[in-house]
Structure formats: structure tokens, C-alpha cells
């Protein structure tokens, strides 16, 4: 057996980390764009489009605005990418060489907040007015979507009586699983930053949001980090709410199928809805998200 260091290195760099996560992320991005195009009656981009977009961004020069903190400007996308890659490495998906450990759920939740913090800081460090508005909106939205998100995760953790991801994965299905899944699904569009909660990157209102002054390799890293975040959230949904079946291969196939259905559902909702205001999203999440989270936690405590 490989030593623990090798296991974690493989988990971070190959599967389910950088390379595997990037491949899945590119697939999900393509599904989003192609399905949105088809729903709108358009042809849509070809299969390899997100890959070539990424490679092209790597070949562009980086134009750094004058008078800003260059160190922070460059470190933020690296930090965002590192956090999502490390978070992917500790997900107990089939084929992960690294094992799950006690408390890795808490570590995962911390890692999940880093991309959001990096986006908020990026909005402020570039000193662009659009970036600042986007950063403020993203921070507010984070306060909103974390109500159902954390409520769902805490409910499942309470149900499994553990903070270890493999225990949560193996926990038997119960009514709490369904309620927590509903709460989690409510939070997903806001975490993906897709309609009706595409408030931080509202192109028609704030141009390009927090990434407006980024170009070249830092922008490529931010885009990759966003793709990995999508993979991470889909993986979390699968790990928490989709039971394993039979062999690892069958579980992997089931996971892939459910993930594509989930992405298609989020895309369909995104294509047919319009954007809410920040206060509207806040109200929505604290009312309905709060109700769903409360229902899940009550079911977990009682069960």
C-alpha cells in the first residue's frame, strides 16, 4: 500500500483533485452551456469549448491595474484554487486513494468558504467599483445561503452522529435525509452563482463582478477554481444524500448519472428564471431556507 503522503499527493493532484476534478469540472461547464443554449433554441458550444477557453486564458498576458497590492492580486486566485483542490482531495468519492479522517467534515466546510472569501477580497483589492459591489453582494449572499446549507450538513451529521465524511456517506436513509437534501438543493443555485441567485456576477449590472480586473493566468485560476467548486458541491451532495450501491464502479456510475441530472436541473432553473435582488434572495433564504433547515434539524434531533 502507498504511504499516507503518497496517498494524499495522488488525491490532491490526480483523483479526485486537480486533474480529475478539472476534467469533471470542464464536463459540467460544457453541460451547463450546451443545455442553456438548447433551452434557448441555440446550437451551443462544442464539447471541447471549456477546455480551449482555459488554455487560451493561460496564454494571455496579465494586465495588473496600477496602484494595487500586486502580491494579494496574485495570491488570491492561487489560494482559491488551492482550497478547492484540497477540499476535493478529502471527499470520499469512489477511487479516492486518501482515506477519510475524524473531523474532515469541518475541514471541508472551512475549505468551502475560502473561494468565497477570495472572491470578496479580489473585489476589494482591485479597487474597481464594480468589484466592490460584487464583493458586498457575495458576502451578503453567503450569509443567506449558508442557512439551508449548513442546516442540511449539520442535520446529516447529527443523524450519523459523527463529523467524519465516510460515516455520513454510510449513514442509513431516513426522513431526515430527504429533508436535508431539499435544504441543500435550495442552497445550490446560490453557491453555483447561477440564476435566480447570480447576484455576485450579474453581467448586466456590474460588468464582470469581482474578476473584472483579472486577466491571463490569474483569471484562468479563478475560472478553474469556480469549476472545481461546482464539482465539490456536486460531490458533497452525492456523498451526503446518494447511497452507494454494490461495487465501487457501480457507485461511480450512479454518482455520475445523478451529478449530470443535478447539473441539468440547476441549469434549467437558471435558464428560465431572472435574477433576484440581494434583499429578495436574503428574504427567500431566511424564510424558505430557514424553514427547510429547521425541519431537517428537528427531524435529525428527533430521529
Amino acid at each position: 500500500m502507498l504511504s499516507a503522503l503518497w496517498q494524499y499527493f495522488l488525491a490532491v493532484s490526480v483523483w479526485p483533485g486537480l486533474l480529475g476534478g478539472a476534467a469533471l469540472g470542464l464536463l459540467y461547464l460544457w453541460i451547463v452551456r450546451k443545455l442553456s443554449a438548447r433551452i434557448q433554441g441555440r446550437q451551443g458550444p462544442p464539447f471541447y469549448q471549456p477546455f480551449f477557453d482555459f488554455i487560451k486564458l493561460l496564454g494571455k498576458e496579465t494586465v495588473v491595474p496600477g496602484g494595487i497590492d500586486r502580491g494579494l492580486f496574485v495570491v488570491l486566485p492561487i489560494g482559491s484554487l488551492a482550497a478547492t483542490t484540497l477540499a476535493l482531495a478529502i471527499m470520499p468519492v469512489p477511487g479516492n486513494p486518501a482515506g477519510s479522517f475524524q473531523g474532515d467534515l469541518v475541514l471541508l466546510l472551512y475549505f468551502l468558504e475560502v473561494p468565497m472569501l477570495c472572491d470578496v477580497l479580489a473585489g476589494y483589492v482591485t479597487r474597481s467599483i464594480y468589484g466592490q459591489v460584487s464583493a458586498m453582494r457575495e458576502a451578503l449572499l453567503c450569509l443567506a445561503y449558508n442557512v439551508p446549507f449548513l442546516g442540511a450538513v449539520v442535520a446529516v451529521a447529527q443523524h450519523a452522529r459523527s463529523f467524519r465524511l465516510s460515516d455520513l456517506q454510510a449513514a442509513p436513509s431516513a426522513p431526515v435525509t430527504l429533508l436535508a437534501a431539499c435544504a441543500f438543493l435550495l442552497a445550490i443555485p446560490a453557491r453555483f452563482k447561477s440564476n435566480p441567485f447570480s447576484i455576485p456576477n450579474a453581467e448586466q449590472e456590474i460588468v464582470a463582478g469581482a474578476h473584472i480586473e483579472y486577466s491571463g493566468v490569474p483569471l484562468a485560476m479563478f475560472e478553474l477554481s469556480h469549476a472545481l467548486e461546482v464539482v465539490l458541491l456536486v460531490d458533497l451532495f452525492l456523498v451526503l444524500f446518494v447511497p452507494g450501491v454494490g461495487t465501487a464502479g457501480q457507485t461511480a456510475a450512479l454518482y455520475l448519472g445523478v451529478s449530470i441530472v443535478l447539473i441539468a436541473l440547476v441549469t434549467a432553473i437558471a435558464t428560465v428564471t431572472a435574477r433576484l435582488t440581494v434583499s429578495g434572495a436574503f428574504r427567500f433564504y431566511w424564510k424558505w431556507g430557514g424553514l427547510a433547515a429547521a425541519a431537517a434539524i428537528v427531524a435529525a434531533v428527533m430521529g
Binding site: A37, R38, I39, G41, R42, Q43, G44, A268, T271, V272
Partner: protein, 179 residues
């Protein structure tokens, strides 16, 4: 629930997108790039006069003739030159322009050479033969054909001779060129 019906219809049917080789055709009378036939041009300058963006220019080269220049990069595609050209030298077949990296490819220059007048020898741009046939519907009179290569001064003299001959019958051959 019209939105769901629309989404379902869009997803089931093929996309409405046209492929690059299947683009919508041009409507009838589409104003594309103009065509200029130098053999039909008399260098009158009407097209340059009506061209608002000054895409058409006529430059005289002394006694050698005129040069008709057109720049597609300056054209508004309004069609006034086609409408006003008296000899129909400028036509609109509806040809689409093409993209180019080099602006000089958008310019066209045609020479309209002048010839010496058949009577006085002064260099002039004569009435094109095809226009003559058009004017007489293919049935030009001998006198008209003989006067085709005259300059405007000699043509005026020939016209006033025809007028005199029409009113005053004289002995001898009427309408002989050069009398």
C-alpha cells in the same frame, strides 16, 4: 405554464441555428456591392455627385480620360448611384462584400479612356455603343451610328443641322456628317 411548454419544445427540436454554409439568403433587391462597367461609363460624374459618403470619385487625367474610383469601405450601400447613372453603367447584382485584413482590397479603380473626336479630333469620352443600341432599342439609325464618336461640340452642331434639315428642305444629301 407557457415557459415549460416553450422549454420542452426547444429541447425536443433541433436548434434554430444556421450553420455557416446555410445562412439566410438575401432578399430581392438587396443592396450589395455595386458593379461598374467601364465600357458603359461616360464619365459624367452623376454617381460621384449623388454619393453622400464620397465613396465614388472621378479624377480627370488630362486628355487621357477619367478614372472612376470606388471604395467599398466608404460606401453606405444606399443605391443612389445605381438609380441615377444615365447609362446604367453601375448595377447592383446583390453581391455581398467580404472581410479583409487589407483595406486596399476594398478599392476599385477603372479607367474610362477618351478618344479623339471623329470630326474635330478633340479628346472626349464618347457615347458607348451599347448605350446607343439601348437608346434606339437595337434599331439605331445610320445617322446616330455615324455621330456616336463625336465630341459634344460637334454633336451639338450635328443636332442643329438635323433640326435645320427637318424644317428647310434643301437639295443635296441631308444629315451628312462633317458638313
Amino acid at each position: 405554464m407557457g415557459i415549460f411548454a416553450m422549454v420542452w419544445r426547444n429541447v425536443r427540436h433541433a436548434a434554430r441555428t444556421r450553420r455557416p454554409n446555410d445562412m439566410p439568403s438575401r432578399p430581392d433587391g438587396f443592396r450589395g456591392l455595386i458593379e461598374h462597367e467601364a465600357p458603359l461609363c461616360t464619365g459624367c460624374g452623376t454617381c460621384a455627385y449623388v454619393c453622400a459618403p464620397r465613396a465614388i470619385t472621378l479624377a480627370t487625367k488630362g486628355d487621357a480620360g477619367v478614372t472612376w474610383t470606388f471604395s467599398a469601405g466608404q460606401c453606405s450601400f444606399c443605391g443612389l448611384c445605381v438609380q441615377y447613372c444615365p447609362t446604367h453603367a453601375i448595377t447592383n447584382p446583390g453581391r455581398l462584400p467580404t472581410v479583409t485584413g487589407d483595406q486596399s482590397q476594398l478599392r476599385v479603380a477603372h479607367e474610362v479612356p477618351s478618344r479623339p473626336c471623329a470630326h474635330c479630333g478633340r479628346p472626349t469620352v464618347p457615347l458607348p455603343r451599347e448605350v446607343l443600341q439601348q437608346l434606339y432599342d437595337g434599331d439605331a439609325t445610320d445617322a446616330a451610328v455615324a455621330e456616336q464618336a463625336l465630341c459634344e461640340v460637334c454633336r451639338r452642331k450635328a443636332a442643329s443641322r438635323h433640326l435645320r434639315d427637318a424644317f428647310i428642305r434643301t437639295a443635296g444629301a441631308p444629315g451628312k456628317a462633317g458638313v
